[in-house]
């Protein structure tokens, strides 16, 4: 099923998932959306391990959110108090969990999109009548992401290999390190963009207003079924 579902349907599902993840506030609704997302993910063969790895570092943030929500929200029962100061409230915990669910839902909708190859997604945008310039820009952006990540990782690694213990630095110096990380990356990106612009011009990009594509996406039966199921499921969620 992974490759057989039309990327346009996947875009639609990702839109439904992320929109409901942002709009819904009740934790039980978010849980339902998350479960639906996980089921879609299973159908599309999402690499859950890589999703988990991406999300792992937000777990600490999640605890911080719970505490902040508990301190600044005076509704809810105190679960943990220190010297009469409510550090954890049940309302705070619920909000923290909601945030966590939201992050998961949004990452999942992104992950569902990545199960189609880039060329298909680009074709989907074109056939959805998105201007080709914009579709192309999005595709290029996505394509260059891994390069940027690798570059930042390598620079970060080489800074540490120079014998600098990041964990022992003061906040001020850590900020300085970040500036060292981004300077060359921005430089490289600009130069790469310039080269890309030249090569794209040389190949006649936008030479004619109307572009045709050799590859055309067609809606198949399975796509219609998935589309219909998605509409039913998400309308159900709204009235639930």
């Amino acid at each position: 099923m992974k490759s057989s579902v039309d990327p346009r349907i996947k875009i639609f599902i990702a839109l439904c998932l992320s929109t409901s993840g942002v709009l819904f506030t009740r934790v039980d609704k978010l849980l339902v959306i998350l479960i639906i997302g996980v089921i879609y993910g299973l159908c599309f063969n999402v690499q859950y391990f890589s999703v988990y790895k991406r999300i792992r570092r937000y777990l600490q943030l999640f605890i911080v959110i719970i505490i902040i929500q508990s301190i600044f929200n005076h509704d809810g029962q105190a679960v943990l108090t220190i010297n009469g100061f409510a550090l954890l409230t049940d309302e705070g915990i619920i909000r923290g969990i909601s945030y966590l669910f939201r992050i998961y839902i949004i990452v999942l909708s992104g992950a569902i999109l990545t199960t189609s190859n880039m060329r298909d997604i680009l074709q989907a945008f074109i056939q959805l009548k998105l201007p080709y310039d914009i579709a192309f820009m999005v595709a290029i952006g996505i394509k260059f992401m891994p390069l940027l990540v690798e570059e930042i990782q390598n620079i970060f690694t080489s800074i540490q290999l120079r014998g600098i213990d990041i964990n022992m630095l003061s906040i001020k110096k850590r900020i300085e390190i970040v500036s060292y990380l981004f300077m060359p990356v921005i430089m490289n990106t600009l130069v790469r963009a310039k080269k890309l612009a030249i090569s794209v011009d040389a190949r006649g990009f936008r030479a004619y207003n109307k572009r045709t594509s050799l590859r055309q996406l067609r809606i198949k039966h399975i796509d219609e079924v998935v589309f219909f199921v998605t509409i039913v499921v998400f309308s159900g969620c709204i009235y639930f």
């Binding site: 620079i155 690694t157 540490q160 290999l161 120079r162 014998g163 600098i164 060292y180 990380l181 060359p184």
Partner: protein, 219 residues
Amino acid sequence: MKPFISVNNVSYQLQNKEILKDVNFKANCYEWISIIGDNGSGKTTFCKIMMGILKPTKGEIYIDGEPLTEMALFEIGQKIGYLFQNVGHQIFAPSVEEELAFAMRFKEIDEIVISKKIEEMINRFKLQNARHIAPYFLSQGEKQRLAIATILLNNPKFLILDEPTTGLDYERKNELGKLLCQIKNEGIGIIMVSHDIEFVKQYSNRIFQIKDGRVIGEE
């Protein structure tokens, strides 16, 4: 003599693909080891594993008798210098001088000492003409020499160089060979990845080949 780098039964797997299989490898100080192998055979992966940048799926690595898993990157960097395959990724300061001073400034070393060391490195690595140019615009050879200079400022006992000869002309290659020989004579061991069989044969004490995920000795 106890080996400086000791790799025991190391495997590395990436998304169900086994890139390295049960690799055993030992490297002593005072020797120059070369690693050859086809593109994509896992040479860079092997280097990064020895540097602690990638974690092996199986097996152990000891550096100077200490398990690699118990060392942080900043500690490893003071024992082994690493030249990235893409040198551009390890040069990031706005000028050559700042590049050389970077680590020393973070360690709050006296400015007089820093400028003396910078001078020394610029002369030794023939970077006089480049000193005020942004490293980004340096030639491949200059970038490499600058990277090696910054590495040596850490006083490592070993160097791991990932394809240092790529992109160098005949002259620059000879210069690099001489420079590395000098470094080796100071008692710093070298592991070098290269495609340049001639260069490899001219300088190395031992040659290994990576093939189908295994490291095979040639001599």
